[in-house]
Symmetry: C2
Subunit: 345 residues, 2 copies
């Protein structure tokens, strides 16, 4: 890249110093920088990120190699009460002296711009808390782009001293899987309801959950909540374990009465301690970094393919013939790949 | 491609006529041709495949658009009794006048060559049946290569008049998902055992099952088989439905006593009839063709990337730095993609 100009250097130094000094405005501005589509600003964002990563490496070294923050993914169908849960847990944690950041992943907001206003108004108390930082989902880009930004925002939050990073997803498209791949622990929230409500849970996502929380476990919903807990406990036994040092559990909590909330967090801490002690958490992070790099490469290389002039020309017709069963997918792939390999204008 | 020579034309005509005439030797030889790594033979295989596809289109037209064959994927952990089940079901079907082909997908055989001998000796009676055709997994190639070959072998079996195509997988790696993506119905076989035995079931695969069969449901295992049936029936209720016209079920059968075998097949037929009537089966096939084309493209384009000289040079060092957390996966991907886009020697 081109060398940094004077103003650029001053901007980066100001952002970096504000960020590691724990200023929320600098953190917000830094996240805006990693979200940008502007080519030069994107380069600056990478320089900033490298500095923050170097800072983290030093901190982790002092910490005996222990991660500076605990990254938790939270997901669940609409109506599971994600915001209320995060609000109550977040307040409890800041009350205990933690610094909590909440990031959202919502690829649907790319088209609707929907969640931009949503998050802060939903978590009214937490958003006024000086030790909490809430950031809505970026409103542009592909899922790959949004998850890249979120991954980089996690690094920035950690640099700003947030020792707990909660990543919330609305469960649209593949976003839950993307979030499960960027956190230390993946928690699935489920409302005490059966049938149609549960249809909102993505296929395969239950098996990624390290903990299932049945929410709204109070009043009239206490009985159905207990039943759901029993059902999911049995179901989880039939699924393969993800980890050698942790068995996924199903617990109940009420954000309304606060009952079960400290116990839920105690489970999260047990998980973290067990996974750190066995070294699995560190190993999972290393694997995640590689997966993330390759998924970005894959997305880009495939876009490169799809934008190739000969491919663009041949694709619609070939795709139609494949769908009709007139030619085999293998032959269609061969023909398109031949087009791709040939020199383009 | 180069024009066909006289001998090549005669070979293809002989293979095609033998195949549509229902000769097993021609079918076997044709599958060997689609399995080949030889560039010219690969081209010939595609010509043959195109002729067989054209033949199928004519047949389906006569058939009112109904598929010429029912494609069923069978999977399950080691010890589920897949071979005995296929042997018993296969014999029953040929006895009813069906022509049954059995294809295996086993990417592990690419390295060990293991299943080459295995399949035929396991299904001794079926392999002697004139109305059955058993083909072991190809022993070379990537999973993508093996699934391409299997997909093309399905087309050839259908051309040879086999109206039931069973695709068996040993459940190594991602092979079960690949098989679920190439069949009309995916059946999971489960032995009546709990705990460790069930660990052999791949994460996420239960949700792909259109039918779960608890095998070995006889004698001492009858009681545990009933228990497993109840547990899986409850578990399936918690998972999302794949289809609007079918609810996955859990049934029991014994290949030893034959009990439940006709009932299992009746379930498969109900599924097929319901999915055909709603048009979902035809829609699923169209979607599968596209998925298969894109997965072949993705595999090839990514290999192209990995083989690029600059990428090969830079990758090991960058990957190490990403894993260590020294640079962000996003930056590493950017750097590698820049290498890829630059002209190579």
């Amino acid at each position: 890249m081109r060398d940094l100009s004077g103003p650029e250097q001053r901007l980066l130094t100001k952002l970096y110093e504000g960020l590691v000094g724990g200023q929320r405005a600098s953190l917000a501005e830094s996240i805006t920088l990693v979200e940008t589509q502007h080519p030069r600003k994107k380069e600056l964002a990478q320089v900033l990120l490298q500095r923050v990563l170097a800072h983290r490496t030093v901190q982790e070294g002092r910490n005996g190699g222990k991660p500076v923050a605990f990254r938790v993914g939270l997901s669940g169908p609409p109506g599971a009460g994600k915001s209320s849960f995060i609000e109550v847990v977040g307040k409890m944690l800041t009350g205990r002296g933690h610094k909590v950041s909440v990031l959202a992943v919502d690829p649907s907001s790319c088209t609707t711009g929907g969640s931009l206003m949503g998050d802060k108004t939903r978590m009214t108390e937490l958003s006024r808390d000086m030790n909490a930082f809430i950031r809505p989902s970026p409103t542009s880009g592909t899922l790959g782009g949004v998850t890249r930004t979120t991954n980089e925002a996690i690094v920035l939050c950690e640099g700003a001293g947030y020792d707990i990073v909660l990543v919330e997803t609305v469960g649209v498209g593949q976003s839950e899987f993307a979030v499960a791949d960027m956190v230390d622990m993946f928690v699935l929230l489920i409302p005490p309801a059966g049938g149609d409500e549960l249809q909102g849970i993505k296929r395969g996502i239950i098996e990624r959950a390290d903990l299932v929380v049945v929410t709204k476990s109070d009043g009239d919903l206490l009985v159905p909540a207990r039943r759901i807990q029993t059902e999911y406990t049995s179901a989880l036994k039939l699924l393969r374990r993800q980890s050698k040092s942790w068995n996924p559990k199903v617990v109940r909590a009420s954000s309304h009465t606060g009952e079960g909330i400290p116990e839920v967090w105690a489970e999260l801490e047990s998980y973290r301690d067990a996974m750190l002690a066995s070294g699995e958490l560190q190993g999972r992070r290393r694997a995640q970094q590689k997966v993330w790099m390759w998924s970005l490469i894959q997305e880009n290389v495939l876009r490169h393919f799809q934008n190739h002039p000969s491919v663009r020309e041949a694709l619609p017709h070939l795709e139609e013939r494949v769908t009709n069963g007139a030619i085999s997918p293998g032959l269609a792939a061969d023909l398109l790949l031949k087009d791709f390999a040939s020199p383009s204008s």
